[in-house]
């Protein structure tokens, strides 16, 4: 009697754990995430200005590392956890240092192999939209450009192009 009870109890739990496990592995393989962000800042020529941007980006709590090319005013950001990437905060950090963003690119794992104009892509919790003239093949990982120049207003889309 006791055995039967414990068996009955165990069965639904094991099913549940199994489902969670399956879902976990599925989500791992399908997770579309931003790996790194590369930006070129504008409005500066001096190393002191470059350091101001570097310091401003480095203090963002989700940023693990910032690699700089002072000559090109370019910064490559990698993250502590890809889910926590905050594009608005990256932009704001550059503006806070007193400068603007010329180009912003990101390298990411995309959920699909084809990019179609106006199709929505969800990456690291963001909704992006492709801005393309024709269908393109996506490499894994793929480097793309974020078209929007300014900080995105709420409930808007970040547009992506190759």
């Amino acid at each position: 009697m006791g055995m039967e009870l414990s068996k009955n109890k165990f069965k639904p739990y094991s099913m549940k754990y199994f489902a969670i496990l399956i879902f976990f592995f599925l989500s791992l393989s399908a997770t579309a995430q931003v790996q790194s962000v590369e930006l070129v800042a504008s409005g500066l020529t001096c190393s002191m200005c470059s350091k101001a941007i570097f310091k401003s980006l480095s203090q963002l709590d989700f940023v693990a590392d910032v690699k700089v090319d002072i000559e090109k005013s370019s910064y490559i950001l990698t993250f502590k956890s890809p889910e926590q990437v905050k594009i608005e905060q990256i932009r704001e950090a550059v503006y806070d240092a007193g400068f603007a963003i010329e180009t912003m690119q990101m390298t990411a794992n995309f959920p699909k192999r084809k990019a179609i104009d106006e199709e929505v892509v969800v990456l690291s919790g963001y909704q992006f939209k492709w801005k393309l003239s024709n269908v393109k093949d996506i490499a894994q990982p793929q480097k793309v450009t974020i078209v929007n120049k300014e900080i995105l207003p709420t409930a808007g889309f970040y547009y992506l192009k190759f």
């Binding site: 070129v40 504008s42 409005g43 500066l44 020529t45 001096c46 190393s47 002191m48 470059s50 350091k51 101001a52 570097f54 310091k55 401003s56 203090q59 002072i70 000559e71 005013s73 503006y95 806070d96 240092a97 007193g98 400068f99 603007a100 010329e102």
Partner: protein, 266 residues
């Protein structure tokens, strides 16, 4: 007039010869003027300067200054030379950035409070010798090899006893470039910058005016701290100011992200 032409010729010669070098970069961290750009948001700068002024009389000025950047567009300074106090604030209202260039504009206001307005000359003295209000516009352009900044402001001397020179114009035109390094490889490289600045004053009530030239050399250490050496001398001096030549040495250090970030309400 011949002297001005001579000095202008040498400045032009120097500028054109410097342009012959490739990969010259502009610098706008001027020694005798503020650019329209604001310090990085939430940073603090400590500045210490020593100036020795000569002319009809000799004087020294030992000044300590604290500068705060309250946001990306607004900064304020507090300074003292231990005989007077100075408060300065600057707001950037226009900014157009492109790769290696920008055009920026800012408004500024400063108040100098001197304990005693003992000196009466037909010029307005801005090194803490008298109480003055000063406000105006700064336009700075950075374009690849050249950084130029124009400052135009109105001055009002806060001294009812002054017969002359109670109000006037103060203007400056600053230019700067990087001499070393030719190529940036790290923030640890020592930078050497050269500046040439023109500083002038014209009074409304009097024909008194002057125009000075101030060449300066600047060393930047660790992309964070600066040592400036400048020498200001008159090109035109139609005023009876007591000192005309200024040799200055200053040091400053910038502390990034020193002030807490204001959290936005979500």
């Amino acid at each position: 007039m011949r002297r001005i032409k001579k000095v202008a010729f040498y400045i032009l010669l120097l500028c054109t010869s410097l342009f012959q070098f490739k990969d010259i970069k502009a610098q706008e961290l001027f020694v005798n003027a503020e650019p329209a750009s604001i310090m990085p948001a939430r940073s603090i700068m400590i500045k210490q300067s020593y100036a020795t002024m000569t002319g009809k009389e000799n004087d020294n000025n030992f000044k300590t200054q604290l500068e705060f950047s309250l946001s990306k567009n607004w900064m304020t300074h507090l300074g003292t030379n231990y005989k007077s106090w100075e408060w300065y604030t600057q707001y950037r209202f226009y900014s157009k950035d492109a790769v290696y260039e920008h055009l920026r504009m800012a408004l500024f206001f400063r108040a100098i409070y001197a304990a005693s307005n003992a000196i009466h000359t037909n010029s307005i003295l801005l090194e803490g010798q008298e109480s003055v209000l000063h406000s105006g516009l700064i336009i700075t352009q950075l374009k690849h090899k050249w950084a130029s900044s124009l400052t135009i402001g109105a001055l009002v001397k806060q001294d009812a006893l002054a017969a002359n020179g109670q109000a006037g114009f103060q203007y400056s035109f600053s230019n700067g470039l990087l001499l070393y390094p030719k190529k940036y490889t790290s923030y640890g490289q020592t930078n050497v910058n050269f500046y040439i600045e023109l500083i002038g004053q014209t009074l409304f009530s009097d024909k008194a005016h002057y125009l000075d030239v101030a060449p300066a050399i600047q060393f930047i250490f660790n992309s964070q701290s600066k040592v400036n050496i400048s020498y200001q001398l008159p090109l035109i001096n139609e005023s009876n100011r007591l000192t005309t030549h200024t040799a200055a040495l200053s040091w400053d250090c910038l502390f990034f992200n020193a002030l807490p970030k204001h959290k936005k309400k979500s």
